[in-house]
């Protein structure tokens, strides 16, 4: 053991204080690092906990069943039924319409921005896409009601401006920035040596894109599309305003529909805390949580699988 010389002066005192404080700070950092895992667990637990009292009483697959009927009468005190089939169908229908718009447009824009655009125009397009991403969902809902709705009534023969198609268009526009940025990331992650090798074999830009980059970035592009779907399914405010809020299974593009998210948003305000109505909305929340987490985890696995495959 050597004897330490006593430290003198405020500077030394400060630095020894900084050393002493290191342990608690590291503990704090560790605690913050674990926060996200704690929060995800907490979200599952709390949403489950407040749905739980109702779960044993729900008829899941019967005539008025949760997954098999469209009879949503959760407010009734006697003989309430909890059928969310129309909302599930509506949710997936509106996400499907959105993806039909967003996936081709998003991938095309990603290809242009990452492979064809010059360095200057690339920056401008990126700014444009960022603006698209920055518009809040409530403003999209507002745009759907005030601008897209009247256009649909005039040109698509819709009787109501807010319907499946309107929701799909708005959700598509909202998902595009996410798809573009993720797809562009995965295209950029393809090593330049791939491009150079293809160019040396006489391939031109487009052949590089669809013969080399698409196969090489396949799983990244797939994950981008899946995360776009996840976003479209979880979106609330825009869908609430744009889809017309009618609990029915759509038969045409211009039918008003409702979704799981919109139902929670429009009914939670009236639901008494702890009532079966509120518990049924928490049950819908649980279902949404399971669907979106499944999509996100799958997308993650797809990306991870690709990383492992390319590192071998």
């Amino acid at each position: 053991m050597t004897e330490r010389t006593p430290s003198r002066g405020w500077r030394a005192a400060l630095s020894s204080a900084a050393d002493w404080i290191e342990k608690p700070i590291e503990a704090l950092i560790r605690a913050c690092g674990w926060s996200s895992i704690v929060l995800v667990a907490a979200i599952f637990c709390f949403v489950f906990w407040y749905a739980a009292p109702l779960l044993p009483h729900i008829d899941w697959f019967g005539t008025d069943g949760f997954f098999t009927s469209t009879h949503w009468h959760a407010k009734e005190r006697e003989g309430a039924t909890y059928g969310v089939l129309a909302m599930i169908v509506g949710n997936f229908a509106v996400a499907l319409v959105a993806m039909v718009i967003a996936i081709p447009c998003g991938l095309a824009a990603a290809v242009y921005i990452s492979e064809f655009a010059g360095p200057r125009s690339k920056e401008w397009f990126k700014v444009g896409i960022e603006i698209l991403a920055a518009i809040p969902s409530i403003v999209w809902g507002f745009i759907a009601i005030t601008m897209i709705g009247p256009l649909l009534i005039k040109y698509a023969g819709a009787t109501m401006g807010t319907n499946l198609l309107n929701g799909g268009i708005v959700l598509g526009l909202m998902s595009i920035p996410l798809i573009v940025s993720l797809a562009e990331d995965s295209l950029r992650a393809v090593p330049d040596s791939f491009r150079e090798a293809a160019m040396a074999l006489g391939a031109n830009r487009w052949e590089i894109v669809y013969r080399v980059l698409f196969p090489a970035a396949r799983s990244g592009l797939l994950a981008a599309c899946m995360l776009g779907v996840g976003r479209a399914i979880g979106e609330t405010m825009a869908v609430l305003l744009a889809t017309g809020n009618k609990n029915q299974i759509p038969t045409s593009l211009t039918d008003p529909i409702t979704t799981l998210t919109a139902t929670i948003a429009s009914e939670m305000g009236d639901a008494e805390a702890g009532s079966p109505h509120s518990q049924s909305l928490f049950t819908i929340g649980l279902l949404l949580l399971v669907i979106t987490c499944a999509i996100n985890l799958t997308a993650n696995l797809v990306i991870r699988g690709n990383k492992r495959a390319s590192s071998n």
Partner: protein, 302 residues
């Protein structure tokens, strides 16, 4: 054997060039076609909001359910909500990013944390609202109000700030850290004196993006005490700080949500006015983030 000039491109080569040109132009068309409607929509909102915009509109009280008056109350609500949210989420998120990038060992638990961060980012905003109601209001017994709404928003924006902090930290070269360690500095000293100062701009960008996100979000706050109308003191310090931590509040996003439904006798420019103010606010904050990033790239020394 033809005696033609071998350097003239064959029809196969011509075709392939044509296809490449076509691909380039069609992807360009799609990209532009995405941005033009957005530009149109933004101009249209600005044009229709024009008659409503004035200083009195920004600083006036909401009256007749938003059909008259101004948006002072909602503006202040959004301001304090965002400020509170930032005060909660910025320290936690930045430290979490530091943990994941600087401390976490490469093991299964760290991968679980990463998966948790992406899962948290994928949780629908309305489920965050349910979580806030269940955890903060029903379980902890806190009143619905500014603080619980800000806490709910914080949970929602946490992954944004973690991800951007991680990216900012990973842009600091490894050999900066190694040089510092070689001088005998501990891990925390290295982070405090080398890593954080060098990634400051990137972290700031993330913080600014969280502001934009929190200011625009509606679903998590609509059941957490955001209301249509509250009386606000006409003058004095209470006009600048109209809400206490546990008070109900108005917020711009929720205001737009409530008045954009069909209310008879609602003048069009009032709706477009609040939409434009919200949009301008958020695009301005986003522009700020881009500016910080741009300056950063220019000043980068390595």
């Amino acid at each position: 054997m033809s005696s033609a000039n071998p350097f003239i491109p064959s029809s196969y080569e011509l075709n392939k060039e044509k296809r490449a040109r076509r691909a380039k132009w069609s992807t360009l068309t799609v990209t532009v076609a995405l941005l033009i409607p957005v530009a149109l929509i933004l101009t249209l909102i600005a044009l229709k909001a024009w008659p409503a915009l004035s200083w009195d509109y920004l600083t006036g009280d909401v009256s007749r359910s938003g059909a008259a008056g101004g948006i002072w109350g909602p503006l202040m609500g959004t301001f304090y909500l965002t400020l509170l949210c930032l005060a909660i989420v910025a320290p936690i998120g930045i430290l979490a990013g530091v943990y994941i990038h600087e401390y976490a060992p490469d093991n299964a638990f760290t991968r679980a944390i990463m998966i948790a961060v992406t899962s948290l980012a994928g949780v629908p905003s309305i489920v965050h609202a349910l979580f806030g109601l269940g955890a903060f209001v029903a379980t902890l017994g806190m009143p619905k109000g500014l603080l619980t709404a800000a806490m709910t928003l914080s949970v929602m924006t946490l992954p944004v700030i973690i991800t951007s902090t991680r990216e900012a930290l990973s842009s600091v070269p490894k050999n900066f850290r190694e040089a510092c360690w070689n001088l005998g500095a501990s891990r925390w000293q290295t982070i405090r004196t080398i890593v954080l100062p060098n990634s400051f701009g990137g972290i700031l960008t993330g913080v600014i993006l969280v502001i934009a996100r929190a200011a625009g979000e509606t679903a998590p706050i609509m059941f957490m005490g955001a209301v249509m109308w509250l009386r606000i003191a006409p003058a004095g310090p209470e006009r600048l700080m109209p809400y206490g931590l546990n008070d109900e509040f108005m917020a711009l996003s929720n205001h737009l949500n409530l008045i954009s439904k069909d209310i008879p006798g609602m003048p069009e420019q009032m709706k477009f006015g609040s939409a434009l103010v919200l949009l301008t606010l958020i695009l301005f904050i986003n522009g700020l983030a881009s500016l910080v990033r741009l300056r950063l790239r220019r000043r980068k020394r390595w």
